[in-house]
Amino acid sequence: MSGTEYTASDLFVERFPDQARIVRIAFTNAFVALGVGALFGVLQALHRTEILRIVESPTYYTILTGHGVFLVISFTIFFLVGLYQWAVTDSLGRRPVDMRVTWTWLGLMSVGTLIAAIAILAGFLDDPPDVLGSELSADVLFTFYAPLQAHPLFYVGLVLFVVGTWLAGFDWFRSWWAWKSDNPGERIPLPTFMVLTTMIMWYISSIGVATAILAFILPWSLGITESLNPTLTRTLFWYFGHPVVYFWLLPAYLLWYIVLPHLSGGRLFSDPLARVVFILFILLSTPVGIHHQYLDPGISEGFKFIVMTNTMFLLLPSLLTAFTVVASMEHGARQRGGEGTFGWLTALPWRDPAFTGMALAGLVFAFGGFTGIVNAGMNINYLVHNALWVPGHIHTQVGTAVALTFMAGTYWLLPQLTGNRLVGRSVALFQVVLWFVGIIFMTNSMYRGGLIGMPRRTAEPQYAFDYEIGVGSVTELDVQLALGGTLLFISTLLFLAIVLLTLFNNDSEPIVDGTIPPALSGPEDSPRILDDLRVWVAIALVLVIFAYAFPLANIVSRGGLFGPDISPFPVVTDLASHPVTVDAVLTLQHGVATATALIT
């Protein structure tokens, strides 16, 4: 593994100043998105629980869309490209072949985000302007499939962003090809291996959403086509919609495998196991998306059952990771004098915010694994599918395992990227623990609320329902949700403040050890075929064809490529011809978006 030849004084910013700049810009974009997304998050928590309402309920969907898109697209993926730029450059020890390509993908991603953000934020205007012949709006949530329709600019922004990520992957592959020709016969350094395998998974999976947008949703939004086949576009969305979860998660895995063992005072337990895990994600992450559609009509139960089986296989890389990462931490603890079956846990560096943040993130991830199994099971999924349980799950996994790891990783990386000492190390420790406490409150409320049938994606969860609750009360759940959301928001503000102050803390020497020790069991212990990426791509494609050819053919044969008829979408209700009840008014007030979102 690379890095061993550098001493602590050889900071990344000193070795690769231009690359450090790229990473800093990508991280800046990520953290701006994090700040806005977190603000929208706390507004939702307070609105849903009726503690503080500063917008009207229909505007809640603008906030909900912004929260989703800014956090799970902008924050996570900008952080990913920054981290991966660091990982490739550091582990190969070389700059990109052509920096113009690097600036191009960073520019495309930034412009794409800006365009999509304008379309989303226009939802706050009382009278949004007409652009390209239609009103600027994008209240379509992160799950932006039909029948919800956004302004074309929203989709254009997303396309530019995704094309930017594709180009970034090409940039990293190019660096690797150049390195390979200089180092024939060498094993791919583990961080670069992780980057390349993640990008292969991303290429295979993001083609689904690209097809959905470019072939169907964008032409429909522009008025070029009159209709589309909603089941087809939903299926194409979820073809991407589950693997994208691993696109968020794998940078966190990279930090757990590469940095966490070092922070623990030890070495990665097994380099070959880490490679196997990333290959398993290439193979298994894509043929599972239909498990998000267990409740969708138009897809046979048989296909759903096959996908459930595929999904359960995905537990394997997660469990392998749990073993390898914890074993690496234990190695560090025992090297630091830890003893006993559990006593070694006390020898870990719990005062280090980077370590503690990542360790707590891993702990939350382990718990989220259980709720993920519930989501993946066809029968139990029916109980929780449209309930608050599901946001509970995503907040333990992406909202903590990923987000908290990214924050903790930033505390380790930032001094190396800026040459500045981290400001407020004890505040940073408080910040990661505060996040952990906040997520416990919030997700406890969400999981329990979900089990008693509280819906997700609505501003008015209590409207016209009485929930039968076994323990506690709905008020207690609301208070927990609002408290958790507020703590998470405060934690985000602390994180952003520490990052900002560190950026300007340029009259200090950083205290950071950037060296990555080699694995206990190194790449020489793994079969060479693990590095033959063509083999894994070929197998992955075969699995994708097996999983998707029949369901897609089935959907198209029944609904047509462009749908039998778009008339149900958007739903139009003629108020004048119906007796107006309070229920009807409220449903309409929240718009068609609410009603349709609730059935997704």
């Binding site: 070092h262 922070l263 005072g265 030890g266 337990f269 749990a322 073993f323 914890v326 074993a327 234990e330 190695h331 603890a333 025992r334 090297q335 630091r336 004098g337 006993g340 079956t341 559990f342 070694w344 846990l345 560096p349 280090d352 915010p353 980077a354 370590f355 382990a366 259980f370 519930v374 139990i380 109980l383 505390y411 380790w412 001094p415 981290l422 190390r425 089990l451 076994g470 205290i511 950071v512 050890d513 206990l520 069991s521």
Partner: protein
């Protein structure tokens, strides 16, 4: 950030991750208990699905 504080080097052959094994066993026990809890709440605690919805 971390000071390392390594007091003894442990190489591959002398390292036996028994603590990891203990934690994983503990995790699986928790999973089993949660499955049991889910079964109790969702199946034993509820009546069969009604044949007719009024």
């Amino acid at each position: 950030m971390t000071d390392g504080n390594v007091t003894r080097e442990i190489d591959h052959d002398e390292y036996d991750p028994v603590g990891t094994l203990a934690l994983i066993v503990l995790y699986f026990v928790i999973l089993l208990l949660m499955w049991g809890f889910t079964y109790f709440i969702e199946f034993l605690g509820n009546d069969p699905t009604p044949m007719l919805l009024a």
